[in-house]
Symmetry: C2
Subunit: 217 residues, 2 copies
DNA sequence: GAGCGTAGTGACCGGTCAGTAACAAGTCAA
DNA sequence: TTGACTTGTTACTGACCGGTCACTACGCTC
């Protein structure tokens, strides 16, 4: 293929050259491997990144990688698992920060959604991208992907139900697909395409499902 | 990686064993290569398929492949180009078959959309999938992908304008993103997820944009 | 039937892939 | 200080990657 992900980035995190041979890294090799792999996978694609490049980016070596993960596929699955945890954590925090204020919760969530389809370096949803690259039904990552997507949809249902919007399930499905579409589409035409209208679309949809008795704040 | 796409399918098309050494294939090697490559790329992913497997599936050999294409990347681009042509052809035929009947045109188009998110073996939009797998900005296929996506969106605008729906551009953007989302999402959770509501969502959106004076047929 | 273009064959190139073996060196607790 | 455990290092395997080689076989046209 034209470009691989070989040997980019000098060393692992917490290094600055070759003066000090290898000052103690603050995180464990395992964590660094998962972190480096997640970053490379996201930027270049899973199949485009070799384990050597991952080990190097993590400031360690292939042998240590294989002491922690039985295979590259298992490492991929672990990256997805950790990513799913981070997403879960985001939702938990959101709910905690806006307990009793569903309107504020929706506003904060919308800001995050906007970030996902406008920021520099965004390359869509890592889960969805992985699903494209890993069609094998028995890949250990597929279960993680499916669970994450189902979970995301359920979080939306919950959010809209808390906000007392009508037909929260249908609304969640629609908004969920819009987000999925926007995040995949920016990879084809960039952030100035139809995805640039995403937030306004969602706002309009939400507005149309508001109970008749209330108005926007 | 766990599974590659090596040596599946017996020989190329138009062969049935080794009795007749190689009866004349009905199509040119070039066409067979593009066809085989497109199929393998779609089913297994672009990076998961090697040129050997493509040549074998096309009933030819690697040397002939490289006589017709300067590189695998160029072959990928040609596959995308041909796919884009087929899509264009579909839209031209649709417009021709329903000239003066925009309502019928929309119905026929919706049937095709439904097919894309329910059929066995569907793995989303080949263009979008390619965009995920080919993040390199200078890949020869990227221009094809971008043009195809922009073109699709414009076809929708045209379709809705012909049907005299209000705000055809905003409507097209919304429906376009819904379709993109549905097609990517079935790769994560299958056809029974939110994508199963896609057609009804689109129908409702279209209904809401109908001019007040007319009703559905 | 000579000449030419296209296609087929199989060996081969350097490089990279995922994954392993063997051993040295570091860390840390008892 | 010992000993167990975790890391680092180097070299390696065998398979596969994209891509090229020289050479052969066919079909067409003049």
């Amino acid at each position: 293929m034209s470009a691989s992900a070989k040997s980019q980035g000098p060393k692992g995190p917490g290094e600055k050259g070759h003066a000090a041979k290898r000052q103690v890294p603050t995180t464990s090799p395992r964590d660094r491997i998962v972190e480096a792999a997640s970053d490379l996978f996201y930027r270049h694609g899973i199949r485009a990144v070799g384990v050597d490049a991952i080990a190097e980016a993590a400031g360690t070596n292939k042998m240590t990688l294989y002491r922690h993960f039985t295979s590259k596929d298992e490492l991929v699955a672990e990256c997805l698992r950790r990513h799913a945890q981070e997403i879960d954590h985001y939702w938990d925090e959101l709910a905690a920060n806006y307990a009793g204020d569903p309107e504020g919760e929706i506003r904060a969530w919308l800001a995050a959604v906007s970030h996902c389809v406008t920021s520099e370096g965004e390359r869509g949803c890592a889960m969805a991208n992985a699903a494209v690259e890993l069609p094998e039904k028995d890949h250990p990552g597929r279960a993680v992907i499916e669970a994450a997507k189902t979970g995301h949809r359920e979080r939306l249902v919950e959010l809209f139900r808390d906000a007392k919007l009508s037909e929260p399930e249908a609304l969640a499905d629609e908004i969920f697909l819009l987000i999925e579409g926007a995040r995949i589409n920016i990879q084809s035409v960039g952030t100035d395409g139809p995805a640039s209208r995403l937030v306004r679309m969602i706002e309009a949809l939400i507005e149309s499902r508001r109970p008749a008795s209330s108005h926007a704040a």
